[in-house]
Amino acid sequence: MSMTMTQKIIAAHCGKTAVKPGDMVVANCDLVLGNDITSPVAINEYEKCGCGGVFDCNKIALVMDHFTPNKDIKAAEQVKQVREFAKDKHVKNFFDVGEVGVEHALLPEKGMVTAGDLVIGADSHTCTYGALGAFSTGVGSTDMAAAMASGKVWLRVPEAISVVLKGKPQKDVSGKDVILHLIKLIGVEGALYQSLEFSGDGVAAMTMDDRLCICNMAIEAGGKNGIFPVDDQTLAYLKEHGAAEPKVFTADKDAQYARVIEMDLSTLKPIVAFPHLPENGKTFDEIGDVPIHQVVVGSCTNGRLSDLRDAAKIMKGRKVADGVRMIVIPATQQIWLDAMHEGLFDIFVASGCAVSTPTCGPCLGGHMGILAKGERCVATTNRNFVGRMGDTGSEVYLASAAVAAASAVMGKLASPDMLD
């Protein structure tokens, strides 16, 4: 029976030669992830059930990234609970302040995921690792607890949407623009319970950072996972980051898809998702004067080195507009170091930006950039729901790092080509 790439990876992890959409399977996990918000709920469940030792102390990652450095006493208590659990269960991959990064930037960077892996995480953006040719999906805390004990997860085998990328993107069009266009096209539940499987000659034009960004936001279309085929770029990335030997799965030529979507990358323009859904994308020919108050460049979606470079290229020699705050958050310590050595921080600080230590912080309205009523923020993050970044009367506009930086300079929503 023909299978999609996702279906093949799932089949290989539940000891079956074939699976089909709708099958309920119990699969073995190569990695189980949790953060400082979701892990405490998982640990409560774990302890309540007296689960004892974890299934494999090398295959669990506990990443303290959301409310860290601890934003208040309760947050500190939560991290302490996870820290003690990690110590007690000898969990090797516990990432605390000083080495922590935003989880979905950190794990690929540390080489903790390889092609063909099956990864679950108690964080919805766990789907990011599809960029590496892995099946990875977000689950809940109880799933995480059960998987820490058993190494297993229940899954309903998804059908897939085939997204065929063609051509090359124009200047100032990045992975963020590609995924926001796709979500605009299919809607926030357009891929509900489905995989988004990318293919086509346009894949080669997408850098690894582009692919990580695109897969990261598969969940914003309701998708179970996003996944890219493994090519030379993938293999080079995995090697560079010391990942385990890749297991390359490819979709069968006659694999069945729920639908096929073709995207001509050369026709895409910079896009901004307006409040309060990621599907509300508008290109600049549809956008009038929208004054802004804050810009955030960071997160698991766009806090990587290429994003910081895109932003710095625009900020160089320019200033953040009066009345606007711009916050730059490198997603990991390595990205922070690289950005510093490249001189990007000199550019950011000279232009009036604040540069933060790695944290999810403002993306989910945790800390480090909360919005007041009536304030508008252009963010390179992934969600623009009501109250996502602060007061329910504030607004988040999702965009690429280049658009975010141009907007900071102009003091309103702006694309890079609107700068003088």
Binding site: V26, I37, C49, F67, S124, A146, S150, W154, R383, F385
Partner: protein
Amino acid sequence: MVLEGKAICYGDNIDTDVIIPARYLNTSDPAQLAQHCMEDIDPDFLSKIHKGDIIVAGSNFGCGSSREHAPLAIKTAGISCVVAKSFARIFYRNSINIGLPIVVCDAEIKTGDKLSVDLKNGVLTNETTGVKTEFPSFPEFLQGIIEAGGLMQAMSGGVFE
């Protein structure tokens, strides 16, 4: 099992950020989470509901963040069941895993209508209008988790074996 309660209705794409805003996620205590349930979409939610009431929503209920705090807050607030046209996938699995009954059903319901939900036979009755609507039962595997009372209990019972 038949659940009975009054309906409280919401629209499409009710995300987990409005069900339980992230500013309250510095605790994992269900009772504290329940105090802020639905706060950013309906600040008076807790004063409107009685134990056993049923949330009714449109499509893609529970989209966004994977936070299990969302179904946990709803369950602990006293809601007996969530009925929606469709559920976001992580909310769907979280509800099953923690034993919050959810029903995928598209029926004519208004806030305040008295509902009864027969989970075993897959029938939702709007007692106010008298209209009965059938809904599909869960796959057998998930039915097993639901009957065990949640995933951890089901795991102890060997669901992963």
